[in-house]
């Protein structure tokens, strides 16, 4: 996978690979020491790419999805070379927000972005990205010399034992890249324009690209998918994300975001009819896309309106072809909106699938009931708790309460407490 790839292509950079017979030595044992000049990754042979980190479990290279809470649920982050499929909620509010978090994280880390959409112009999507919350620690990530600056401040702020002043404030963990993994974003503000312009973005807006009259062959990919795959392949090849351009000095990650895949705007029929002619178009697309991703340093997030897909078998196939699948279910317009269990949250988030990459076991979290809510600035994912049973009538003495009808929203007490008055054990 990607971890192996970076090892293999990092030959010229670090000098800790030693040829046994190249020098006249008495013994065959060679000291492996850091020979590279000026490289900060002196503890490992991995080339560190900004914004990535190896997984603690199996060394898989991970990128952040933009939401640290989601990263934690997915086992540390999104693995490079894999696809994260987000099943859209009914009105596509929260899934587009997660999509924007992913893109914003790419901009903050300096990754290259590829944004594909059939509904909105990618330039418009970029204008709507949330602004990163860069606190003091975050701002330091963009500077080089921070130790001297901080130690002078610490003299004023607090009394540190004199020895500790010499240590740098910011701990640089060994092989990990220097910038922080996973940033927080303020949804109420837009990303500053200079950050967007400083980043490299390739946009694919399908209505503009499909100006030529399509000659669609049956049993083949839909025209939109063919164009998109060709575009992605071109970008990967030209920019050298698959290692085809060895002169590139600095390796980078390509973040691919595809919005509303499977909707009729891509030319696909699966949302319109149950038995359509090109029912395998989407699955073929995902299969080819996964091949492209596995051989390059890229990570992909796709949002798909699965609630519109008429044939449920297609959803099952799509789930199998994606690596990580996350489903969003918002409460807007459903009967759960008035359920007092869910009154603090805006929807449920279901982790439907987590991949097994170079591993025999899944990295699932043990929490299955997860809910999200969108506060004014922040999107949080929390474990769904049943509120405590605050009623004091569970004892035997209050048998008369059993005859009362269940009162759900009792005044002044917890939302659920009133309804549990007539439980007896």
């Amino acid at each position: 996978m990607a971890a192996v790839a970076t090892c293999g292509t990092g030959v010229g950079k670090t000098g800790s690979m030693v040829m046994a017979g190249s020098k006249n030595n008495v013994t065959g044992f060679q000291r492996r020491g850091p020979r590279a000049s000026g490289s900060d990754s002196s503890y490992s042979r991995l080339v560190s790419i900004a914004g990535t980190r190896p997984s603690v479990r199996n060394g898989q290279l991970l990128v952040s999805t933009g939401l640290p809470a989601l990263d934690q649920l997915l086992g540390g982050g999104l693995a490079v070379g894999t696809v994260l499929l987000i099943e859209e909620d009914k009105y596509n509010i929260y899934s587009s927000l997660l999509f924007k978090y992913f893109l914003a994280e790419g901009i903050v880390n300096g990754h290259t972005l590829l944004v594909a959409s059939a509904k909105e112009d990618p330039a418009d999507i970029l204008q709507e990205l949330p602004a990163p919350l860069l606190d003091d620690n975050g701002k330091k990530d963009f500077d080089e010399d921070v130790c001297n600056h901080k130690t002078s401040e610490s003299n004023i702020k607090m009394k540190i034992a004199w020895r500790y002043q010499l240590l740098p404030k910011m701990e640089q963990a060994g092989p990990v890249s220097s910038s922080r993994f996973g940033h927080y974003y303020d949804v109420s503000k837009k990303m500053p324009q200079e950050l967007i312009e400083a980043s490299k973005v390739h946009g694919f807006f399908f209505p503009e690209k499909s100006s030529s009259t399509p000659n669609i062959e049956p049993c083949s990919l839909t025209h939109g998918y063919i164009k998109l795959l060709q575009f992605i392949q071109n970008i990967i090849y030209e920019e050298g994300f698959d290692g085809s351009n060895p002169q590139k000095k600095q390796k980078n990650i390509l973040r691919i975001g595809i919005q509303n895949l499977g909707s009729p705007l891509w030319g696909d029929d699966i949302c319109c009819t149950e038995n359509c002619d090109n029912s395998h178009s989407l699955t073929k697309f995902l299969y080819v896309l996964r091949g492209l991703l596995r051989t390059s340093l890229s990570a992909c997030v796709i949002t798909m309106p699965t609630h519109l897909i008429q044939n449920k078998a297609i959803i099952a196939r799509v789930t199998n072809l994606s690596d990580t699948v996350v489903g969003l279910e918002s409460f807007i317009g459903s009967e759960r909106e008035t359920n007092p269990l869910y009154k603090d949250y805006h929807g449920l988030i279901h982790i439907r699938q987590i991949p097994r990459l170079n591993n025999l076991i899944y990295d699932v979290s043990d929490v299955k009931d997860l809910a999200f809510k969108l506060k004014r600035k922040l999107f949080t994912i929390e474990r769904l708790h049943l509120p405590p049973d605050l009623s004091d009538t569970v004892s035997r003495s209050s048998k008369q309460d059993l005859a009362e009808p269940s009162k759900l929203l009792g005044p002044g007490c917890g939302a659920m407490a009133g309804g549990k008055k007539h439980l007896d054990f």
């Binding site: 009105y91 596509n92 509010i93 587009s96 927000l97 059939a118 509904k119 709507e128 949804v187 209505p207 009259t213 909707s263 009729p264 705007l265 891509w266 030319g267 696909d268 029929d269 949302c271 319109c272 009819t273 149950e274 309106p305 609630h307 519109l308 008429q310 807007i332 317009g333 459903s334 009967e335 759960r336 909106e337 008035t338 359920n339 007092p340 269990l341 969108l374 004014r376 035997r396 048998k399 059993l402 269940s406 759900l408 929203l409 659920m416 309804g419 549990k420 007539h422 439980l423 007896d424």
Partner: protein, 276 residues
């Protein structure tokens, strides 16, 4: 993202309807056999024409005379009618059919139209859905709504408003769901006891959708009379029933009388009472 709640109360209702009338993009009018929507479509067309917009009408289901009846001369002069009813398969003209079908032809006409807001009324969208592939229609509708914003280098104008009349019974859940995901607003016509009501669902981008139910009536001169308020007999709103979480449980929360007596008469261990 700011959540906006559905409007309720007096001033909110007119605001909701006004915002529907002011919305650009796709507005779906869903009617049914009992509550027809063509008169509402004509009322909205009249309002747009009197508001100074250019109105293009694609007529497929009724003849031009029938559509134009009820409009006065001011409205009729502003109406540009594309007639598909008389000759839907284009047999009478020897020239080749325009590429992209009728919606493509409409798009070309809209592009050639001058600056200013444009409203397109599709009478009806169901007719097009039954004859053209759904995905192509969705793409064409999005292209229609978008193209006016970039008329070849000029300043970005307002996007085109497309009013589509959709007959609810003719289509399955697939096309209905696909079109609602594209629409900026959906007006579903229903009614109780002779009073027509419209349920309006506004999907603003990046905001919570708001919905509202209004009573209305169309006057003989095709002007819209909003009577505000939900219909007189409020049928249970399917969105807001109170939910009892203790229903549908697989275990029994209650004890029967005999079990309760047995429980009460049980002596607990380690309870030192006078009986022991």
């Amino acid at each position: 993202v700011t959540p906006s709640e559905g409007a309720s109360g007096g001033p909110g209702r007119e605001w909701e309807m006004e915002s529907v009338l002011a919305l650009r993009g796709l507005v779906l009018l869903r009617d049914s056999v009992e509550w027809e929507g063509r008169s509402l479509l004509k009322a909205l067309v009249k309002k747009a024409a009197l508001g100074g917009e250019q109105v293009h009408v694609l007529g497929c289901e009724v003849s031009e005379e029938e559509f134009r009846e009820g409009f006065d001369s001011r409205v009729n002069s502003r109406l540009v009618y594309h007639d598909l009813f008389r000759d839907p398969l284009n047999w009478s003209q020897t020239g080749e059919a325009p590429p992209g079908g009728p919606l493509g032809a409409l798009q070309v006409t809209c592009k050639r139209a001058g600056p200013g807001p444009v409203t397109v009324a599709l009478d009806s969208l169901s007719w097009l859905l039954l004859r053209l592939p759904c995905a192509a229609i969705c793409q064409a509708l999005c292209a229609l709504g978008r193209q006016h914003a970039r008329p070849g280098g000029g300043p970005a104008g307002e996007p085109v408003r497309v009013l589509g009349l959709l007959h609810g019974e003719l289509h399955g859940p697939g096309p209905r769901g696909a079109l609602s995901s594209l629409a900026q607003a959906e007006v579903t016509l229903s009614g109780t006891g002779g009073q027509a009501s419209a349920h309006i669902l506004c999907r603003r981008p990046r905001q919570r959708p708001s919905h509202e139910t209004l009573c209305f009536s169309i006057l003989p001169d095709l002007s819209l009379d909003l009577q505000g308020g939900p219909p007189l007999e409020p049928h249970p709103d399917p969105h807001r029933p109170p939910v009892d979480p203790t229903t549908h449980l697989t275990f029994n929360l209650h004890l029967s009388k005999r079990e309760r007596e047995a429980k009460d008469s049980l002596t607990l261990p380690f309870q030192f009472s006078s009986e022991k």
